[in-house]
Symmetry: C2
Subunit: 326 residues, 2 copies
């Protein structure tokens, strides 16, 4: 049974942000300046788990981030489609939620009002408020995590879409009859450019070329992870570096399409894969500059790394929750 009265820190409301991704849950206390305290993490129960199992993981992370206190508001960034009212996760390829009233169920578990929003929309709000997009009037955010999410900030406002489902860039078809996707289609962009794509590409080289990745995963391709590829590339491993070049080039292909459509002032790349920095972004910039329509007759927008790191989603969710409830 959760405690029932909020214990604020003096006059300052206590706001917790949570990011529910396909593999992990991140939570933290978020200050008015966007700073994060008491960062805590959990493992997301798999797609075959019950919705309740995911909700209990979220609630446990909120309790750890808030210490013994009850927060005044909780913002939840979810890797899925959130309906226009912000009550339900309608569909989430990597999570078990399918239309459940997640906002009300989480509010009951944590004993505080909950704001629910798509994770990329939250990250975009945070980057536009405190991060890489602070000075840009319009911004395209592409987050490369397990899959690809994203969001558009136009004239300073996040565009949620008519049904709250804008920004699903990962399921843009870039290869007809291409690689099968968890969404049921084929050739989706996230099959060529995401954390999953990075690991799959690197795995395909194990045993083919000498690479430190073989040692890092102890000879078991199933144990290879994205952070291993990032670390190996940083250490000079050529196989890992070429993997980032290929993923980066596919990033550039998708960005060319999105920039042609939106014409944003700035492109911001977030998510775990973006931790590789210019190793990923330089090939993307090259492809964008070479293939954006009318590239010789316009400014190609800068492509920069997100400034807030993996906490962007929870910071944005908490910021939106604070604006709504505090």
């Amino acid at each position: 049974v959760p405690p029932t009265s909020p214990a604020t820190d003096g006059d300052r409301p206590l706001v917790v942000g949570v990011d529910v991704g396909g593999t992990k849950v991140l939570a933290g206390l978020v200050g008015e300046d966007g700073s994060v305290h008491h960062l805590t993490r959990g493992t997301t129960p798999g797609r075959m788990a019950s919705p309740e199992a995911v909700e209990e993981t979220v609630a446990a992370c909120v309790r750890r981030a808030a210490g013994d206190r009850v927060p005044d508001a909780v913002g939840v960034a979810a890797a899925g489609f959130v309906d226009a009212t912000g009550a339900r996760v309608m569909f989430a390829p990597h999570l078990p939620w399918r239309g459940e009233d997640v906002r009300a169920r989480l509010a009951e578990r944590v004993g505080a009002p909950v704001l629910l929003e798509n994770d990329a929309t939250c990250a975009a709000h945070a980057e536009a408020s405190y991060g890489a997009g602070r000075d840009a009037g319009s911004m395209l955010l592409v987050t490369l995590g397990t899959g690809i999410g994203g969001s558009l900030v136009l004239d300073g406002r996040t565009w949620r879409g008519a049904q709250g489902m804008a920004g699903e860039f990962g399921h843009m078809q870039v290869v007809p009859d291409g690689a099968p996707c968890e969404c049921g289609r084929r050739g989706c962009w996230e099959q060529y450019c995401s954390g999953n794509a990075l690991v799959r590409d690197a795995r395909s080289r194990l045993g083919v070329e000498p690479t430190v990745l073989t040692e890092l995963c102890e000879g078991d391709p199933d144990r290879l992870t994205g952070p291993m590829v990032t670390a190996a590339a940083a250490d000079g491993d050529l196989v890992a570096r070429r993997t980032f070049t290929r993923i980066g080039e596919w990033l550039g292909v998708g960005l060319s399409n999105l920039v042609a459509a939106f014409d944003p002032a700035l492109v911001v790349i977030g998510g775990g894969v973006s931790e590789a920095g210019d190793r990923l972004l330089d090939p993307a910039r090259d492809v964008l500059a070479g293939s954006l329509v009318g590239a010789g007759h316009r400014d190609v927008p800068p492509v920069v790394r997100a400034a807030l790191g993996p906490e962007a989603g929870l910071v944005g969710a908490a910021t939106l929750a604070r604006a709504t409830y505090c």
Copy 2:
């Protein structure tokens, strides 16, 4: 030498709209209710012509549309990138303008203030004001002409882009290393779904299958036009009908990408190719419903034909010119 004082029709300002496309120029007097009078047309000088030749064609059409009178304002919809200030056409794949100050040069020729805007942005403004999108808060317009143009209306406003270059949907890459495009890239959407793509697809069947198209073009594939394919399909010609099915399916592929990204309330299809109506739109609707990510968990937006026909661009340009100058 143009006359120097406007001759208004009583108190009502005289506003002319012009649409400068890749193959033709359309002009007309546009009333406050969006109605078009004195519709006139000219042939666009080819890409190898001088900028001045195109400007003289535009001015001649304005003079014909306005009769002997000098308009109070002229709106020009151009099939190209218009800069953020609305003064220059920066780049136009099918026109010779490359950074010229088209607005000032045309204003001098016609003796009236000129508003210059991208043609698809104008058409979207017209459809959102008087046409298919009158009741929709957000709308994706895709215009299938010689190439593919388009525009986004979000919360009732046309999104022009940071540099005025949003909506270049035709150059979304849908096939890696696909068909070469006039823009210099390969595999652009407009190579598979546009007036040019329609004619190319139909041409490839001449002499392969029996079709009335062979007679319509008098045995010369170079004389085949889009309207011939539309007419043949309406008359029941199977080759022409299958061509529309293929173009419509490619329309659906691109729409799936754009709807996943923007989540508009409504999709409006304009341009000459859209005159085929459901013959084109039904295959597109099927592909969209079958391949839009999360399609089972959301409403798939309606795909409807533009209401204003080929005059949408000039109506929108005139409406914007009236709002600015009258």
